[in-house]
Amino acid sequence: MTTPERLTDLANHSELFAPWTGAFTKNDLEDLINTEFGSPSALDQPVSKDEKTFHLEVPKTILHIVSANTPHAAFQSLLRGLVLGSHNRIKLPSAGLPTFEAILPALPPSLNALVETSRDLPPDWLTTAEVLVIFGNDDTVRTLTEQAPATTRVIGHGQRLSIALVLDDPETAATLAATDVCSFDQRGCLSVHDVYVHPDCPASPETFAALLAEAMAKDVLTSPPSPLTPSEAGAITTLRETARFISASLPEQCQLWESPDSTAWTVIHESHPAIKVSCLNRVAYVKPWPSHDLHTSLGKELQHLACIALHPFSDSFANSLSILNPSRICPLGQTQHPPLTWHQDNHPPLASLTTWHDQPALRSSPRRMGPGHH
């Protein structure tokens, strides 16, 4: 199966992936290959540049370890593996990933043949994978990395969170922030945990917190939250009671807004700027954006930062935030819709999975086949 045939099959079934990867056409996939490798035909033919020839080697087998909190990673990682034409083994969470598993029978046979899934981790999967892609908490990434053979390329995606920064137009920003907080109940790495309010914003952080609470209450009416386990609900109520306790004595340091008689949404204003990890399921912190020494003020969770969402978006302000090393800076309201070219955790989506072979001069060479045909 050639790459164009595979991309056609993928594009014809993009609706299966679209809720989790965004919609795509065959052109989009070709553009992705071109962006990553400098040539749309790089997967099938050597690439020439500066009188040198480079052969792209795609992994025969990729092992994807995906987490239970959201199917996004499974869809995105599989799509990348299918674009490359690798054989994809997917270790699912032990309880399964129903949304993901449901689409597999709908894939055409040509693509379905490139996918295997298991809720356990067969020992040979770890030892035979050329590339290991891990989604999970940092401990999971560390443990599996240690278990993989030294020659295996490991792409680890540990725990991540995202933040938003409101510069102006607080009313619109509150609606957009509510969308980014409520989407997928904050279960992905692009989910916003903390919304920061810039000192130049016309609304104070406390005022913005009230606006966000109002917007989240409206959002619940159109997109109700998923049912919670006792543990998830307990995390929210425990956090609320702790916030209520502090707020009762120190209202200038902490204030709580909550959905009445439910755990549907929670907003906590804190005067301390350090990034706080939400307990998820529509729990957002609102904080003041520090005016100096960002790294120290934002605290140790900064190391887990995935995305910063800005409102209003400006290139110049986005550039000033690059010192925080997020893998993405985007307009507020769009955090959950990254482009196919997104460098998740700063890795190029396709190139990080592949290797190159160099040779000094371009020679006539046979058309390269996809993996499994070598």
Binding site: P230, E232, G234, T237, I246, A248, S249, L250
Partner: protein
């Protein structure tokens, strides 16, 4: 303040000494006292719409979440200068630790000693501890408990070495029954790092603390089996303790899979994690403890430990909520032993 407190303290000491006591009456008296003298707690109750007028049964006393002890607001009924000891919850150096301040260790120690006796546990003439001496861990409530229970504080009672290992020489050759104390993780490390040793007949091993969120997940039942095999004791000789830095009293469960029993001055409820409403016996939910010995802090504490209430003095512990951050005395021990590797 003085007369209120003295009367309540007197009632409590009588209760601990075995006198018939009115739990509800003492609890409501302490609640009133804490509303009057514990400002952060009073403001929290006000925020909840609760006061001494609305609270008429001990079950309705508002519990604070255990994390409230980690806030910058001291949960005490006395001025800071009267603090004579502060115990800290465990955690890594970068984590905020909970603080439980005391102005009266006599009451605290009385709860420890009488709680032990109430559980009909053996006198501690021959006790050994899988930890460092209390002098090196002055903020450990568990270390203080060990010290309070054991009259002999000679150095060879403390088996953990400065090099993060164990020296069990003092256990070898013992012929009279002894009690070995340790956290779940220190006992696990002890089992891994020393050869099996048969304790004298009639000995007990005392295990406290969970081990969620550290190193790896450990199965509690497997650990109990491992401890029994390592020390050649039966399941009935293994004693489990439930306690936390935020409380002054302990519950005990002798043997594997036993329910925890509270002393007369400690009661429990189980609540629905989502609503906070109390659940009937047998339903799983969050454990809330009402510890009258917390006279000078706050008597009702809400945990994130899942449990089933059997009755208000007995509960089955199901385990730490996985959503909760790792905590517990066992973890402090784990940090100590991990630092060696």
């Amino acid at each position: 303040m003085g007369s209120d407190r003295q009367a309540l303290r007197h009632s409590l000491l009588n209760c601990m000494g075995g006198a018939e006591s009115d739990f509800d009456g003492i609890a409501l008296g302490i609640f009133e006292y804490q509303l009057a003298h514990n400002s952060p707690y009073r403001k929290y109750c006000t925020a909840l719409g609760q006061s001494q007028e609305t609270v008429t049964r001990w079950q309705d006393i508002p519990p604070v979440p255990a994390d409230a002890f980690k806030s910058c607001l001291p949960l005490t009924c006395f001025p800071p200068e009267n603090t004579i000891r502060t115990f800290l919850t465990s955690g890594t150096t970068s984590e905020t630790k909970g603080e439980h301040h005391f102005c009266d260790l006599e009451l605290y120690e009385s709860a420890i000693i009488h709680g032990w006796r109430h559980a009909k546990l053996p006198e501690l003439l021959q006790a050994y501890f899988a930890s460092r001496p209390p002098a090196e861990t002055p903020h450990s409530s568990l270390g203080h408990m060990f010290q309070t229970l054991c009259p002999d504080h000679s150095p060879d009672r403390w088996l953990a070495t400065p090099g993060h290992g164990f020296d069990i020489t003092s256990l070898i050759g013992q012929s009279t029954p002894l009690v070995l104390f340790g956290t779940s993780l220190s006992l696990l490390h002890l089992c891994h790092s020393t050869n099996p040793i048969a304790l004298p007949a009639g000995s007990r091993v005392f295990q406290t603390g969970g081990f969620k969120g550290v190193s790896a997940e450990h199965n509690p039942e497997e650990l109990s089996d491992q401890i029994c095999r390592h020390f050649d004791i039966t399941e009935d000789q293994l004693i489990h303790e439930y306690g936390m830095t935020e409380l002054s009293s302990q519950s005990y469960a002798p043997g594997k899979n036993s329910n925890f029993r509270c002393p007369p001055w400690l009661r429990v409820q189980v609540i629905d994690p989502a609503t906070g409403h109390s659940l009937p016996s047998g339903e799983p939910g969050y454990l809330v403890l009402y510890d009258l010995a917390n006279l000078d802090s706050v008597l009702a504490v809400r945990t994130q430990d899942f449990a089933r209430m059997i009755d208000h003095s007995t509960f089955q512990l199901l385990g730490r909520d996985p959503a909760a951050l790792p905590r517990g005395c066992s973890r402090a021990s784990d940090s100590f032993f991990q630092s060696a590797s």
